[in-house]
């Protein structure tokens, strides 16, 4: 006779209960096991129903997507005639604007090709063997370079130079976010190591000052500084690319934040590890690279990914310095007289897209943790 905790002795059947009975029993044990809990359950169910049904009726059942007339499907204004719910035709018909901003329509094959290639690489790397191959890794690691080249324009293939002022939408957010995360990571590690240094007090002081100053101000301030103040210090006529200014600001900001995350991870590694490495004759670089950092990174993964997710969402602030990123596009697109008043659809759409990216980042982090744990006992 099995006794389950918190339950009084009751006769059980020895054969495995069928799923329905098990589910009912679970509900009785967890949701309805007391008057108070039952009340809470009912309340919660009521709230969930209200919210979900409201969303579903607005977003799904009463929504309009396309207009079917004369054998063609169109996503124009008339698709939403008479619909009381969401007008998703607005999102579909503005897809180019949302994804690429004010990028010249004629050159759209370039960003499409570049990001299409990234998606293909992503899909291919689902297969573990493909992930190890340098045919996948190489292009992936080099992606900032060729994506930027394709978007900006090289001289060949009749590619016209597209100034970064015209980059926008989700593409811009992804560029700023990805390069921001990737570039700020080594900076964060160096700053953390510098701050922990016992033999180089000047470096340590510089790192502390940098970290504390940058962390103490909001990202907007840093963006203003790099966007407005920095050009004042540059020589006459030296025009720094607007996106580059924002990118540099983002990298500096994220670097300071990540430095503290890395430092926390480093502190968690017992001194004995460094001592054993030194006793074996390993120098500072090898001790850090082979012994301390690999162990510390394992610990840091949740914090690092949180930082990355936060940074990606923070890139939406560049709207304030005049760059038309994903959020700014959503705000602007409703200014179009055809689609006036469709703000809710716009914001729900970009919220869903942001969520999709961030959720995938956190799933990736869980997979990373799982994979690295198998290395330990």
């Amino acid at each position: 006779m099995r006794i389950e905790t918190g339950q009084s002795l009751q006769p059980f059947q020895f054969d495995a209960p069928r799923l329905a009975r098990a589910a009912l029993r679970w509900m009785r044990q967890n949701l309805f096991n007391s008057w108070f809990n039952s009340l809470l359950t009912v309340l919660a169910l009521a709230i969930i129903y209200e919210v979900v049904s409201g969303l579903a009726s607005w977003g799904l059942f009463n929504a309009a997507l396309f207009h079917f007339a004369d054998g063609t499907i169109s996503f124009g204004r008339d698709a939403c005639e008479g619909a009381t719910g969401a007008c998703w035709a607005f999102v579909v018909s503005n897809w180019y604007l949302f994804f690429f901003g004010t990028y010249p329509y004629d050159e759209r094959w370039r960003p499409l090709l570049a990001f299409g290639a990234i998606i293909v690489l992503g899909l291919v790397s689902i297969h573990p063997r493909a992930r190890k191959s340098w045919w996948v890794r190489g292009p992936f690691l080099a992606s900032p370079v060729w994506v930027l080249l394709m978007v900006r324009g090289v001289g060949v293939l009749d590619m016209q130079l597209v100034d970064s002022a015209n980059w926008g939408g989700l593409m811009l957010s992804l560029i700023l976010g990805t390069i921001g995360i990737v570039a700020s990571f080594p900076i964060g590690i160096l700053l953390a190591l510098g701050r922990r240094s016992k033999k180089m007090p000047i470096i340590k002081a510089l790192c502390v000052v940098y970290i504390e100053v940058i962390r103490g101000v909001p990202l907007i301030t840093v963006l203003f500084m790099s966007s407005v103040v920095l050009p004042l210090f540059l020589p006459e006529g030296f025009n720094l690319d607007k996106v580059l200014r924002a990118q540099v600001g983002i990298i500096f900001f994220s670097g300071a934040y990540l430095a503290e995350v890395v430092r926390g991870g480093l502190q968690a590694i017992p001194n004995g590890q460094e001592e054993a490495a030194h006793a074996l004759g390993l120098n500072y670089a090898r001790t850090m690279g082979f012994i301390v950092l690999p162990q510390a990174l394992r610990i840091m993964i949740p914090s690092l990914v949180s930082g990355a997710i936060g940074l990606f969402k923070d890139t939406s602030l560049v709207g304030i310095i005049g760059l038309i990123d994903f959020l700014a596009i959503a705000q602007l697109s409703t200014g179009n007289p055809t689609w006036i008043g469709r703000n809710v659809e716009a914001y729900v759409f970009i919220a869903a897209v942001y969520w999709l990216f961030c959720f995938n980042m956190s799933r990736y982090s869980m997979r990373l943790e799982g994979r690295l744990k198998t290395g330990h006992a």
């Binding site: 074996l280 120098n283 330990h376």
Partner: protein
């Protein structure tokens, strides 16, 4: 290759010379005027109460602690702040810690191979071969592909000994190697250390294992309050201690 060769046939007769070595931790004077000479292939056991400075003493030899005054010369190289000298010395001095300090994210084999590959530039295959030989020597060849966390304490310490031996050092330092082990595992580690001693390795062992000292040591040193109080061959040390402090310590430790 045996330990006699490892201890080196060339070089000065005194592998370690410590002259008027003093160290402070802030205000606390932890090493007071230490004069110590260790000859090639000599086995020295250092004992004493907690806080006597014995661990600090051997940790200054490979610069895990810095001495503020005095001279330390290891195998002819003086130990100063000069990084080059420190690296030369660390290559010739192996250390085994009380807490093992194995690298948990690497396999046992990788733990042992790491230093030879990156410090002595040994090719990978040869380092692996050497590592497996050492594992046979310490008695646990079957654990090569396991992770440290999967091993018992005695096995972990034996891996730590193998890891230190992989660098083919001239001197081996042991900082209370069996103090963190369960009693039934102490013997297996002491057996390895005994075999090492019989093979001619120069060893300095900080330990409370007096049986080991009696059997293996050429000299037993008693430290108290940061000073070397008495030093003598084990027969003399245990049967005829001269200083009162030594007599007190022996009576406490040999009682049970």
């Amino acid at each position: 290759m045996n330990n006699a060769q490892a201890s080196g046939n060339g070089g000065p007769a005194n592998v370690i010379e410590m002259v008027h070595v003093n160290k402070w931790f802030g205000e606390f004077h932890v090493l007071k005027d230490i004069d110590l000479t260790v000859k090639r292939q000599e086995r020295v056991v250092i004992c004493g109460p907690s806080g006597s400075g014995k661990s600090t003493l051997i940790r200054t030899i490979n610069r895990l602690e810095e001495h503020q005054r005095g001279q330390i010369i290891v195998d002819g190289t003086e130990l100063t702040s000069d990084l080059k000298n420190i690296e030369i010395i660390r290559r010739e001095v192996g250390m085994v810690f009380q807490q093992f300090n194995l690298f948990p994210h690497l396999t046992v084999l990788a733990n042992i191979m790491l230093a030879p590959i990156w410090v002595r530039k040994t090719p990978k295959e040869e380092a692996a071969r050497l590592a497996r030989e050492l594992l046979v020597r310490v008695g646990i060849p079957e654990q090569a592909d396991k992770y440290p966390g999967q091993l018992s304490g005695g096995q972990q310490q034996r891996v730590a000994i193998a890891r230190a031996l992989a660098m083919q050092p001239k001197i081996m330092l042991f900082d209370e190697p069996t103090s963190a082990l369960d009693p039934e595992m102490i013997k297996e580690v002491l057996d390895v250390m005994r075999e090492l001693a019989h093979g001619g390795m120069t060893m300095i062992v900080v330990t409370h294992e007096m049986g080991f000292a009696r059997e293996v040591a050429d000299r037993v040193i008693f430290m108290d309050g940061g000073q070397i109080v008495e030093a003598a061959p084990p027969a003399e040390f245990f049967s005829n201690p001269k200083e009162d402090r030594t007599k007190l310590f022996l009576s406490q430790i040999l009682h049970h």
